[in-house]
Structure formats: C-alpha cells, structure tokens
C-alpha cells in the first residue's frame, strides 16, 4: 500500500468518524424523546466543554503554557464581554492586545 492510499484512508476514517459523532445526537433525537432534565444536563455539558476549550486554548500551547500575549488578549476580551461591550469590540480588542504585545516583544 503506498503513501497516498494510507493518507486517503486516514482522511476518510477521520471524516466518517467526525461526522458520525456530530450526527449521533440528531439521529438519536428523532427516535427517542429526551426528558427535560437530561436536556438541561446536555446543554450544561456543551457549555462545560466550550469553557474548557476557552481555558486550554487561551492558557496552553501543546503541553505547556501559552506565554503572555495570548492570555492577556483573551483576558481583555473577557473583561469587555463581561462589561457587555459589543461583540466586535471584544474580538478586535483581544486580537489587538495579543498582536500589540507581540510587536513589543512579549511572547
């Protein structure tokens, strides 16, 4: 088996596996009625996952810490979001803070 074939198998299985995981919820829901309490837990699960994603992508890079510029940018964005600033401002301020700090040589 040549390299291209192995590569195609890798991509193919990743695609099918990823789609199956995404599709499992909608597929299940059209067959089974999910009780109210379970729906609340599932919604909380999605929020917990997103929060963990925020923390790991803001504070870590690979297996180590992410430096200073990125966490600082996310912090600025987070404070603005908490103060109910417009979404566009939150995003631009987070990016500008990180980019600005890097321009100044902060990692």
């Amino acid at each position: 088996m040549n390299n291209t074939a192995v590569l195609l198998i890798g991509i193919g299985v990743l695609a099918v596996g990823t789609f199956s995981m995404r599709f499992a919820g909608p597929a299940l829901r059209s067959r089974v009625e999910v009780p109210e309490r379970a729906q609340q837990v599932l919604a909380a699960a999605a929020i917990v996952l997103l929060a963990a994603l925020v923390a790991t992508s803001a504070l870590t890079d690979g297996h180590g810490p992410a430096g200073v510029a990125r966490p600082a940018g996310v912090l600025v964005g987070g404070v603005l979001a908490w103060r109910k600033a417009p979404f566009v401002l939150v995003v631009v301020a987070a990016a500008a803070t990180a980019a600005g700090l890097r321009l100044l040589g902060v990692p």
Partner: protein, 229 residues
Amino acid sequence: MRSIWRTLDPGLARDIGLVCLADGVVGVSYGAISVGGGLPLWVPVLLSVVVFAGASQFLFVGIVAAGGSPIAAMIAGLLVNSRHLAFGLALSDVIGRGWRRWPGSHVMTDENVAFAMGQDELEQRRAAYWAGGIGIFVCWNLGVVVGGLAGSVITDTDVFGLDAAFPAVLLALVLPALRDRSTRTAALVGVVVALAATPFLPAGLPVLLALAGLLFYRAGKPALEEVVR
C-alpha cells in the same frame, strides 16, 4: 431556509460575519502551512471539505508533514473532535430533523455551537447555528484554497493575535450561560480538570475530561414555558 435569514437579527449577523472572516484568515494560514510543510494541495483541501474541523485538521497535517503516520494523525484528529458528540446531543433540535440533519451535522463548529447556545429562542438558535455553520464552511474552505495556492502569504496568524481572538469569541458567547450558578460551578471544575490534565494527555482528551465538572451540576426545575411546550 429563507426563514433563517428573516429570523437573524442584523447585529447577530454582523457578529457571525466577523467570526466567518476570522475563520477564513485562519483557513488561509492552514492552507499555506500544509503546502509549505510539503503536502500536496489536495490534502488540506480534502480535509477541509470532508472533515471540516479546524483544530483536528491542523493536528492532522502537522503530524503527517512531520513524517508521522496518517493513522496516528487520524486517531489524534478523532480524539480532538470527540466533543462534537456532546454538541450534537445538546443541539439536536437546533440542527433539525429529516434531511437537514445531514448538512446540519456536518457544519458543526465550536463557534456556531457557541452562537446557538447564546440565543434564547429556538428559532434564533436555529438561525444562528445555520448561518454560522454555512458562513464558516464557505469562508474556511475558500481560505484554505487561497492559502494553499498562494503559499507563504500568511502562515502565522499569531502576528494578528487571532490565537487570542478565538478563545475570546467563545468566552463572550458562553458568558451569559455562566450566569446560572450550577452551570458556572460545573464549568469552573471542568476548566481546572482540563488545565491540570493538559501537560500529561494528548490533545483533545483534557477538554473531554472537563465533563467531570458535570458531577457538580444540578438541573433546575423545568421552567413553566418548557412544561407547556
């Protein structure tokens, strides 16, 4: 489908547009990095269309370009994407029924899931999910092709601070849900678990372990309108 655009409030549409644009720029860098790493253009492009999950795609091309096995890259990608299982369970009625479940499931990303979770009404959730999903799908794939063809135009989006913009996007979108005390406690425990696990476990697993935070979650009494529904 037309009702999505009618339901979508202009402010929300603008916010989604901004995230689509940022995703497009990251797509350009992903395309450029992949081709720059020695992979043929079809690899990043095919991955983007059939897998359509940014973090797993970066991981996949990173492993393969470094000479790693595509099978190892596939397993790593599946691990990173496993959170989509929980997203699909939480948002199944937002994604829809019948044939819509197929394209609707495929366009699932962290961003449009967070946009949907941030809306109150089911109709708005649907509109945010679908507009975000389709918009990001189009921008991401266009970006990847442009980046792959143009090569080294943008390889490092960190210069623009985009690595800080994406966590900020998700944070801004989940903040309202964290006003609920029980959800907040579960999320905080989850964050601590994920951060503690990051140095030791492969990518994707720490975030999944955050679900342990749900042990601290207590579902509230169903709201009146929910009972009527």
